[in-house]
């Protein structure tokens, strides 16, 4: 049976009335022991009988045509089984949720680093050496690699908004700022390298991959190869970090499938770290002009936010930089807009919190600047500008505790800005608001109550390190009155009911709701068997009570399995209210007076994001997000060569992710909240909220400590140094 539900009206919180008491608890992730003991097998660890190794070869020009290559010579090298260069190869990965093939082809070259061939050999060493000896020849064409000077620039309509008269608001403002912030190209640099093992049985392809959204990936893979979707199975039970870079099918999967078909043997293709930096999607740089106009009390009368980003020609994705600017603050006069420069650089796409991750860096920096102009506490300024209704769409907000987050966060942190000296260091504090839109997506799951009184949850949902295994087990356990140890969760297999996938922080709400719905169906059946109304049914520790009846679950099941599918769909509540997660970041930093180096001394985030399903995994998400904020603020920048546009610092020694020594104690607090407009389990996205604005708190703290306003992220020492006295 199937329980179907569309989110057209607010939903009362049933999960607050169930009795098992496992929701919200900081439970360990059930797959943790497998991971720390090496028994959780990731894609690259698959070893199928007869498996051989493929290594991708990249283009070394920025634009032009592939004229030829010494394939014959390379085929003759020891161990080499084949050199593949096929028009079905992907130019770049599919964008998240595309469900169809991205741009394909190897003849036409659009960027330095584009995959143009796959060399397959018996061993990895042979394949790698042969790949290094494959020498393509090219007909080079003129390339454009600099987004600032690119001649081909799009101005998407969907990103344009002109409301009222911003120029006039600026001219008449009692206080205003007109500033330009920049953020650099940014890479998710997930720990697990992108990898696929492809094998065929007749017409049927099985791909062990590392992907976030399997139902789409299956469709993208089938479309890329020109085969029916039914013939493709994708497996991703464990994913070592995705952050958007594993949303869409990527080149190694298609290349592995093509080679495996031809050779009649399973083929494994694992990207090198250097290849990951050019072959999967990264986040564009942004140049953002922010204008804020305010009256003498600090009430905003106008907001302008215009940005320039880049992507390859023909890519529809562009970073939604101004996403939260639409709804976060008041101001009658508004102008938003975007330019997308078309450049010959690796593809850009969704990276954790597309939009807010960079848009909030600029907006929250500018708000800090406005507070300084007004001599106002930055929290007061923000509080004063929390709108009653959406300033552009005139709809209400769903649950929104931004003011509470700022106030409670300030208290917990000991908010007391003002520079002080400690030896060679200048210390100061900064804050920023957090905001990230909330989304849900269609998702399906099957829950089976087994005759022995245990349960099985099945869906093709993924766990990319976020805690999906844990929370889906908790939801089922709560709804069915079982301890989590009695619930098994199977994920990451397209033979299971199709889920929303992990992306846009919508996984927990969407997949969680589908599990909830399936359990609701099961509860109805159990209530019937017990002889009570579904509303009166209580399930706890394997015992059902309701009306005047009481029975052991096992007896109600009488040895048989009971299975139910849950299908969740977004509905009208998505348009009826502006939904977002909110929060506040606080940072204390020390800036070295000699070198300009910045160290974050401590950081705190307070968040309101609907119901928190598992306090531990949610906390980890927010801490991780804030570490990303530190990276954005201080260390991370992917450099592209000004001549051929190749990714220059393409390894983890030179692409500077924050390391432990960069990460101070990070405190996370959650406010109690239910968002009844979001989904039947009243949750909102958590995974991206913790990054959305975090870096701005750090740069605002640098200003507090030194009086130096860095508007060019990241605030590496050279940018601070320039403003320090001798």
């Amino acid at each position: 049976m199937t329980t179907q539900f569309k989110m057209d009206a607010p939903q009362r919180p049933l999960l607050d009335r169930t009795e098992q008491g496992v929701i919200h608890r900081p439970l360990d992730r059930p797959e943790g022991p497998l991971k720390v003991s090496g028994r959780a097998h990731y894609a690259a660890e698959r070893q199928l009988p007869g498996q051989v190794e493929g290594v991708l070869v990249r283009a070394t020009i920025a634009r032009g045509r592939l004229a030829g290559m010494n394939a014959e010579e390379v085929r003759a090298m020891p161990g080499v089984l084949g050199v593949f260069s096929d028009e079905r190869f992907l130019r770049n990965p599919a964008q998240g949720g595309a469900g169809e093939a991205p741009v394909q082809g190897v003849r036409e070259i659009f960027y330095h680093g584009q995959p143009i061939a796959l060399v397959v050999a018996e061993t990895l060493e042979q394949a790698r050496h042969a790949a290094a000896n494959l020498r393509p020849s090219y007909e080079e064409a003129e390339a454009q690699v600099d987004p600032a000077t690119a001649s081909d620039v799009d101005r998407p309509d969907k990103r344009r908004l002109d409301q009222g008269d911003l120029d006039r608001a600026m001219a008449e403002a009692r206080a205003s700022v007109d500033v330009t912030y920049t953020t650099p190209p940014h890479h998710s640099a997930a720990m697990e390298l992108h990898a696929s093992v492809a094998s065929w049985e007749g017409e049927r392809l099985t791909l062990h991959g590392s992907y976030q959204m399997l139902k789409y990936n299956k469709a993208e893979l089938a479309d890329s190869l020109g085969i029916p979707e039914e013939n493709v199975r994708v497996l991703s039970p464990f994913v070592g970090g995705g952050f958007g870079s594993k949303l869409g099918i990527s080149p190694e999967a298609v290349a592995a499938a093509i080679a495996a078909r031809d050779l009649g043997r399973p083929v494994r293709v694992v990207m090198t770290r250097q290849q990951v930096f050019s072959m999967v999607t990264h986040r564009t740089s942004t140049r953002q002009r922010i204008r804020l106009a305010a009256d003498e009390e600090g009430r905003l009368t106008g907001i302008g936010h215009e940005d320039r980003v880049y992507n390859l020609p023909d890519e529809v994705f562009s970073e939604p930089t101004t996403q939260s600017t639409h709804f976060l603050y008041a101001g009658a006069n508004r102008r938003l807009g975007q330019e997308v420069a078309r450049v010959n650089r690796a593809c850009t796409g969704s990276v954790r919190a597309p939009g807010e991750a960079v848009g909030m860096l600029a907006l929250e920096g500018a708000m800090d600047e406005l507070a300084r102009v007004l001599h106002m506490d930055p929290i007061d300024l923000r509080r004063r500008n929390i709108p009653d209704r959406h300033p552009e769409q005139d709809i209400p907000y769903s649950a929104r505790r931004l003011a509470d987050c700022m106030d409670q966060g300030a208290r917990a942190f000991g908010w007391s800005p003002g520079s002080r000296r400690e030896g060679e260091w200048l210390v100061g504090q900064g804050m920023a608001a957090a905001a990230r839109i909330n989304m849900v997506a269609p998702s399906e799951a099957r829950v089976t109550l087994r005759g022995d009184g245990t349960a099985l949850v099945e869906t093709d949902m993924t766990d990319i390190g976020t805690g999906t295994y844990a929370i889906l087990g908790q939801i089922a356990g709560e709804m069915l009155g079982l301890p989590v140890a009695s619930v098994d969760v199977r994920l990451g297999d397209t033979d299971l009911p199709p889920a929303a996938g992990s992306g846009g922080s919508h996984g927990a709400s969407s997949a969680g709701s589908s599990v909830f719905l399936a359990c609701q169906g099961l509860r109805a059946t159990l209530a019937e068997r017990l002889g009570c109304e579904a509303e009166d049914l209580t399930l706890k520790d394997g015992v059902a009570t309701g009306g005047n009846f009481r029975a052991d679950l096992v007896d109600l099941l009488s040895g048989g399995d009971l299975s139910e599918e849950g299908k969740f769909e977004p509905g009208e509540t998505a348009d009826d209210a502006s939904q977002a997660g909110y929060g506040a970041f606080f940072a204390e930093v020390a800036v070295n007076r000699i070198t300009g180096e910045t160290r974050v001394l401590r950081m705190l985030g307070t968040f309101a994001a609907g119901r928190i399903l598992n306090e531990k995994t949610a906390r980890s998400q927010c801490q991780g997000g804030m570490i990303w904020g530190i990276g954005a603020a201080l260390t991370e920048e992917l450099s592209f060569d000004p001549r051929d546009g190749h990714a220059v610092n393409d390894d983890l020694a030179e692409y500077h992710l924050p390391v432990n020594a960069d990460c101070p104690p990070i405190e996370v607090h959650f406010l109690d909240e239910r968002d009844e407009m979001s989904c039947p389990i009243q949750t909102k996205g958590v995974g991206e909220l913790g990054i959305s604005g975090a870096g701005a708190a750090v740069l605002n703290a640098i200003f507090d400590a030194t009086g130096i306003r860095v508007r060019d992220y990241p605030a590496t020492l050279d940018k601070v140094l320039a403003g320090l006295p001798d």
């Binding site: 610092n649 020694a653 500077h656 020594a661 140094l721």
Partner: protein, 329 residues
């Protein structure tokens, strides 16, 4: 990785013998293996020296220290005598790489590690060091980490070691052995060459010449310190580093051994800077003069221009600290 022969040497004689006529020694492998996987280095033959008896740290007759070439960075940093008498060395080592790497990395390998120039690592780019005569892509490219001193129009790469900078400030000598069994001692200052028009030739060592030890003189007088400015708090190479051994006696500077990292193709020490300081009364003006001397030929390449003011600031801070002076507000 290109196929190669592998020889495991049992003693220094067999190691240098095996290396005669072109071979590459492998110690910790933390640098060499990365480069071999990328085919930036593609030796025909590897001579594994990890079984050699070069792992000891011993007192010398004159009260110094002899550090075997295979002593790991971790062991050297933790050694009691080093921490007591040569704290600048300990600090420099601990400021480098990560715990895991320091457990593998050796004293000899650290001295001879190759540059971290991005273009050197990328075989799709021109690089005179990797492929003599092909050009230098770092000029006109991303050169934030590159040299401001001692470079040439053919190569602007830096030497990345922290350890070597401290050893240079401590007047270390390098002991080597050649295939004919000859032993040599050279000042560390003479080990590395400047690039000139042959950036592929990085040291004065002969083919197959094995580093057997590094020898330190007895503990120096004065205040020892290691400063390292970098792009993150740990696990990043120096943008500018400074190992200093400075003694102030009777109100005047009596010793000023100042070695810099991150600035040049080799660990950098400038006798004229030291001559400017020695015998003088510490003052802001004096320190500025020393910085002027140090940076008289400094040349930025765009992204790394900031290293010039940064070096001045780091130098002055170190001198102030040694002289017990405060930074003026």
């Amino acid at each position: 990785m290109r196929p190669f022969d592998y020889v495991r040497a049992e003693d220094t004689g067999s190691a240098t013998e095996a290396a005669r006529g072109g071979a590459t020694f492998i110690a910790g492998g933390t640098n060499l293996l990365d480069l071999m996987k990328l085919e930036v280095m593609a030796p025909d033959r590897l001579v594994d020296i990890t079984r050699l008896d070069l792992g000891a740290i011993e007192r010398t007759e004159v009260g110094g220290l002899r550090i075997g070439a295979l002593v790991t960075n971790a062991d050297l940093a933790a050694h009691g005598t080093v921490r007591r008498n040569y704290p600048v060395l300990s600090r420099a080592l601990l400021a480098g790489a990560s715990g895991q790497l320091r457990n593998k990395a050796t004293t000899g390998g650290n001295l001879l590690q190759r540059t971290r120039c991005h273009y050197f690592y990328d075989t799709s780019q021109s690089c005179n060091k990797r492929e003599p005569g092909s050009g230098c892509a770092a000029l006109g490219g991303i050169n934030r980490i590159h040299a401001i001193l001692g470079a040439s129009e053919h190569c602007i790469a830096t030497h990345p070691s922290d350890m070597a900078v401290a050893l240079l400030a401590l007047d270390a000598e390098v002991e080597t052995e050649t295939a004919d069994g000859a032993r040599r001692m050279r000042p560390l200052a003479d080990l590395h060459r400047l690039p000139g028009d042959a950036p592929d030739r990085e040291t004065v060592l002969a083919d197959g010449e094995l580093i057997t030890a590094v020898v330190l003189p007895s503990a120096p007088r004065g205040h020892q310190a290691y400063r390292k400015a970098r792009d993150r708090a740990s696990y990043a190479f120096a943008l500018v580093s400074l190992a200093s051994v400075v003694a102030v006696e009777n109100g005047r500077i009596a010793r000023a051994s100042l070695a810099f990292g991150g600035l040049a193709p080799k660990p950098w020490r400038d006798p004229e800077v030291e001559a400017t300081l020695i015998g003088e009364v510490p003052s802001e003006e004096l320190f500025d003069r020393a910085a002027d001397v140090l940076l008289r030929e400094a040349k930025g390449h765009g992204h790394n221009d900031f290293k010039i003011p940064l070096t001045r600031r780091v130098l002055k801070a170190a001198l102030r600290e040694a002289a017990g002076m405060e930074k003026p507000a």
